[in-house]
């Protein structure tokens, strides 16, 4: 592989810097600052996206490219940027979201004109994208931690952007404190690794755990689990998440939920699969249990929310749980010596990572458009928006179907892969912990059902029926750039759902790097039209087939209508309103009533 994707990547990093600097330079002229910062931001992200795609599609043979961004003056610290398969996969996520969110922000930031400083927003937004990209690409523990802290600081500044409100300030401080507890654990963890290897280079950490003493290895595991877990938002370290996500501007919430919490997943994957070597069984059991608990509790709390953005924030906890189920199962398979199954579970986790990034960002952008139009986050004051915001409603519906793991969209593919790996897990070991697999599988099923119920509520109460407030009645459709941002993510949801075989091929380099296996060829059958698990009790599913089936079912009501309704007598009258004077919003189901907590 030539150096081309890598130079594109370095160009994109420079682009973010230019975007941030220009945004501050044009601070006094808000329109120019808006267009410049988010325009440059989207172009830089596009560069990163192309680099990641070129690198991953080149196949498992692609060499790891490295470059020192700055000369190093201090021993042990190198500012090395390194593009390897795992980093490239997460680069794909951050860049894809960077493109969509920057375009969306062009329209969204107009809502701040005359009220807030758009230049500052744009500068921090670009810096956050830059820092997050560097987190995924850093090749040195010190450089990683520096980028990690810049990311936390800029995220803090963005969360507290509307700092006039007490709620926002409190949420920002909570995020700040939790984030630092996490970083403290990370520093200790990296020091343990340094003690064993003698350098801070990630190259030197590769499979380091196999030479460490078991006690230190376990300590490092726990420190990294807490450190990255805070950022990922695992239960019980999740409390900053439902506080910070809702109060941030919506483009920032989408970035936080889509990418920032994924840095925790990146860190865990990097450390557990790349650095710490063959895991003892209890690591996998711990990660799987935490995943299961997070998934169930996250969705239960989400069901109780009627603040649209808080509801989405709790769903992030749920989805992080599902991702961790995949990673945990993968660790357990690595322990019991089933590398192919471990790759399947790892792929399930990583696939869900990008899926969640895409659909959760999409939903947050939809929530942002609704917030922009109605000036409230309370679902009880919404309703009837589908008539006034047609496109937003459609995009939100696609996101809701995807997150509820309904076929044929992307959420279904990754949850199907997770089920496949969990269901096969029972036979891989004879120890008692195998009971974890069916329990987690059942919990995942429960989670999926509750998530679907929750999004029936979120979509129904927000977009259907009559408006419950004047704001909702006067809502207007979002601007073109805001819709375009959502459209890109909607297209990504559909692509990841309908063509998993293409995407799985791009995951081959990652599994080759981490488990030494490539299984995309085994997973796809019939020229990539069918997704199939070739193991003994494996299942088979065709996403395109499901989509076509769904479409052809649309014909059934048409046929029935032609057969019966055309001949039937039609009578028009008012809807039955119990003898009162017309239907009013007061008769509608409320969000609270939908998930009645005391009934």
């Amino acid at each position: 592989m030539n150096i081309q994707p890598f130079s594109l990547l370095v160009l994109s990093l420079c682009g973010y810097v230019i975007g941030a600097a220009g945004s501050l330079l044009f601070m006094r002229r808000e329109k120019l600052a808006n267009v410049f910062s988010f325009g440059v931001g989207s172009l830089s992200a596009l560069g990163g996206l192309l680099a990641a795609l070129a690198y991953l599609s080149a196949g498992p043979g692609a060499a790891v490219s490295k470059v020192d961004l700055l000369p190093s003056f201090i021993p042990y610290i190198q500012f090395t940027v390194r593009l390897d398969p795992l980093g490239a996969f997460f680069l794909l996520i951050v860049s894809l979201l960077g493109v969509a969110l920057s375009i969306y922000s062009l329209g969204y930031a107009r809502g701040f004109y005359g009220r807030k400083n758009v230049g500052v927003l744009g500068a921090f937004f670009n810096l956050l994208l830059l820092a997050t990209t560097v987190v995924f690409l850093a090749g040195n523990a010190f450089f990683f931690l520096i980028a990690w802290e810049i990311m936390a600081l800029t995220a803090y500044c963005l969360v507290s952007f509307e700092h006039e409100k007490v709620e926002t300030r409190n949420a920002g401080v909570l995020f700040f404190i939790m984030s630092h507890i996490g970083t403290g654990c990370l520093i200790l963890g990296f020091l343990l690794l340094f003690q064993a290897s003698g350098s801070y280079d990630f190259d030197g950490f590769h499979l380091l755990g196999n030479t460490m003493s078991p006690g230190k290895r376990d300590a490092a595991f726990l420190l990294f689990l807490v450190g990255f877990g805070v950022k990922a938002g695992i239960v019980p370290l999740h409390i900053w998440l439902p506080a910070a996500h809702p109060v941030a501007p919506s483009n920032v919430s989408a970035l936080m939920s889509g990418v920032i919490i994924k840095t925790g997943i990146y860190g865990l994957t990097r450390v557990l699969f790349d650095f710490l070597g063959t895991p003892p069984n209890w690591w996998g059991v711990t990660v799987l249990s935490i995943g299961t608990i997070s998934a169930v509790l996250g969705v239960l709390y989400a069901l109780m929310e009627h603040d649209l953005k808080r509801l989405l924030a709790y769903h992030s906890i749920e989805n992080i749980g599902i991702i961790l189920m995949g990673l945990g199962a993968s660790l357990m398979f690595l322990h019991s010596g089933h590398p192919a199954l471990a790759s399947l579970a790892l792929i399930a986790g990583l696939y869900h990572t990008i899926n969640h990034a895409v659909f959760k960002a999409l939903l947050f952008l939809g929530a942002g458009a609704v917030l922009h139009a109605t000036h409230t986050r309370n679902m009880e004051e919404m309703g009837g928006l589908a008539k006034r915001m047609r496109w937003t409603a459609l995009f939100f519906l696609v996101g809701a179907v995807a997150i509820s793991a309904l076929p044929p969209l992307n959420g279904f593919v990754s949850e199907w892969l997770t089920y496949q790996s969990l269901l096969q897990g029972f036979g891989t070991t004879t120890s008692l912990v195998r009971i974890m697999f069916p329990i987690s599988g059942a919990m995942l099923a429960l989670t999926g059902a509750l998530a679907a119920a929750c999004f029936v509520k979120a979509f129904g109460i927000t977009f259907l029926a009559q408006p419950r407030s004047d704001h909702a009645a006067q809502a207007h459709e979002a601007s073109f750039t805001m819709l375009l941002g959502q459209g890109i993510l909607t297209a990504a949801c559909v692509f990841l759902g309908l063509f998993p075989a293409i995407f799985l091929k791009w995951l081959d380099p990652v599994t080759q790097q981490l488990t030494g296996q490539q299984i995309s060829a085994q997973l796809s059958a019939a020229n990539g039209l069918v997704l199939s698990n070739t193991a003994a009790q494996g299942g088979t599913v065709s996403m395109l087939g499901l989509a076509l089936l769904g479409l052809s079912l649309l014909a059934v009501p048409l046929v029935l209508w032609l057969l019966f309704a055309t001949r039937a007598k039609t009578r028009r009258g008012p809807t039955w309103d119990c003898g009162l004077r017309g239907l009013t919003p007061q008769m509608e189901y409320t969000a609270t009533g939908f998930s009645n907590q005391s009934g």
Binding site: V235, H238, I239, L297, L300, M304, T592, Q597, S598
Partner: protein
Amino acid sequence: MIFKALFRPRREVQREYDFSPYFTTTLRFESHVEEVFQTRIYRPLNRLVLGVSRRLRALQAGSIQAYLIYIFITLLLLLLFAL
């Protein structure tokens, strides 16, 4: 309700009526779900940390002499351990 232990729901309904409870004139409804993790884990933890720091404040007398003593004692202990 199954998840009562988790959610600890609280619901308050106040209604005012003139002659019959079926014809309510004003209705006030409030419901609340407790966040168990906040109240059961983080609040006690918070209280503990603040309590300990309040005790430790005694050490921060602001007197340079006292700090020099602390440094001296620490150094002494370290040397004793090292030798």
